[in-house]
Symmetry: C2
Subunit: 334 residues, 2 copies
């Protein structure tokens, strides 16, 4: 076959914001799939805040990426060789394919998708882990009820935008927190949020008080830090905080800032609960079908921020941590 693969390996453990020298970009021959395996040509690579955690050498929900290993990433591709009866050449699939052009896999954790229903990138955004995180984090962990006030941070990001729209579908009042006027306008005018707070130009704690006069019932946190504290300062009785991420803290070189006003949980009989999307794998199909229905009905929109070129990975990834993306950030390969 004589195919050549390009890939990014983890070269060093990043300290703070990942640097170009934390990665090595290498060219290797593509291995032949063995019996039971398949070869996937990667078309899109999902870029996610969680990737920053995967390169830290700490015990977490998944082992860290080793030095010299292909950087872990979700992706979408097409099967080009199959020695696995579950897959045929030409199938479109999603899975953990890594930051590379070709992946050989035994098919575990690989899902076939229907390329006719929605554009391919949607399977990495609203119909992928991102959308599933929003769906289960909000509905299962957050338990919003009609008429309640839902606040979401990183609201113009991939997860946040879906959280807010599902909360609207569930007849909640929705306020998003995002950075900059353009993102805030997008939330209110395009996605139908009831309000948006620009954390770059407003005092979030004060603005939350204005936007949520009866307090926050569900706060979906993607960012941590001072915005989590601002939400804790504005909880309604019995509020639920969904801990989905803490992107403001991922590139800290010092210790993570814990929420100094966490005793608001006691005052308000509130809860703060962590969630991981992988726990809901047996319900992805049902959630995907429901969200596809909402998309078809025009109730759920998604935007993708697609950057061309595998080689741009080191700089493109940083858009997440600089808050430069609107919607789901991904790489288009080849």
């Amino acid at each position: 076959m004589a195919l050549t693969n390009h890939k990014f390996l983890l070269a060093a453990r990043p300290v703070g914001m990942p640097k170009a020298s934390d990665w090595s970009y290498v060219e290797t021959p593509v291995a032949d799939p063995k019996e039971g395996e398949l070869l996937v040509r990667v078309l899109y690579i999902s870029l996610d805040p969680a990737m920053r955690g995967w390169v830290n050498d700490v015990r977490s929900y998944t082992p860290p990426v080793g030095i010299g290993e292909v950087m872990r990433a979700l992706g979408l591709g097409i099967v080009t060789v199959s020695r696995n009866p579950r897959f045929a050449v030409g199938d479109h699939v999603t899975g953990v394919f890594g930051v590379q052009e070709y992946a050989v896999t035994d098919g575990r954790g690989v899902t076939k998708i229907n390329a006719q229903v929605v554009p391919l990138p949607k399977y990495l955004s609203v119909l992928g882990m991102t959308g599933m995180t929003a769906y289960f984090g909000l509905l299962d962990t957050g338990q919003p009820k009609a008429g309640e006030t839902v606040v979401v941070s990183a609201a113009a990001g991939a997860v946040g935008a879906v959280v807010g729209q599902i909360a609207k579908i569930k007849e909640c009042r929705v306020v998003g927190i995002a950075g900059g006027a353009e993102k805030c306008r997008y939330l209110v005018e395009e996605l139908g949020f009831d309000g948006a707070i620009d954390y770059k130009s407003e005092d979030v704690k004060t603005s939350l008080r204005t936007h949520c006069p009866n307090g926050i019932n569900v706060y979906f946190d993607n960012v941590g830090g001072t915005i989590l504290e601002a939400a804790l300062a504005n909880l309604a009785r019995g509020a639920r905080i969904v801990i989905c991420g803490a992107i403001s803290q991922y590139c800290n070189t010092g210790p993570v800032a814990g929420p100094s006003n966490y005793m608001s949980l006691l005052v308000n009989r509130a809860s703060m609960k962590g969630m991981l999307v992988f726990d809901y794998a047996d319900r992805y199909a049902q959630a995907g079908a429901e969200m596809a229905g909402w998309m078809a009905a025009g109730k759920l929109k998604s935007r993708e921020d697609i950057v061309e070129g595998l080689a741009t990975f080191p700089e493109t990834l940083l858009k997440l941590f600089k808050g430069e993306n609107i919607g789901k950030l991904m790489l288009k390969v080849g």
Copy 2:
């Protein structure tokens, strides 16, 4: 009647540890109860960590005590005059009577107790708010299951000792965290805890790993600070943290230390939930009956640390914040 009342008023808002000058000790005539009211001679005054919060000028679950007002406190007394048909002279009652010898009340929030069943101080400890906090905080918020590992901080304190014993009754493994060898011995030898960690001589994070090799399923937090962080570092998947108090932080003059490793909630799909005993008022009677049964069966012990003399209030209160009490701290009046 010409009765004289002695009482402690809040003179200034304490900064850090309350000082003697934050209180004024005054003598006033006892007011005559009006129609519908009753006069209670206070016998015991409950001293609780929550009192430190009640004197801060911040929005909380209850309005702060005003400057010049009688210091708020739970107490137990005997009715000496009644112009309220629900109460008769000679009734023993509990209620929010304040740090004083006599209280005039309209009877709201006042509960008659049966002085024949257990010694009076038990009605301010295991059968009072303290015991109710332990009962509902552990069983309703913590939801322990037989075989799980329950960890409680301030374990030799009034709430913690009851939490641990109820967890044992529910067939959990119980580890207490307390300060000093005497308290740790008390937990294991007298109360039947499976283990105890002396935070004054041990590294709590390391000791928790030893005592809880499969992680903590329920952590009942009375202290906050570094001990909360040590518990967060040792959670089992799906753990529940009950936020009942944060006594290590109440007398801080700087900001409260939030738990810097709160993202352990995400890694472990764990929750942290605040509770306030007052929400369970309609179930106190049922809980009290169940706990009285456990006491009669020898399964639930309680110890009271009773200091004589209303006038000692300013120094006695500090025992809580210095960790000097074992069991329920209270004043005996007169």
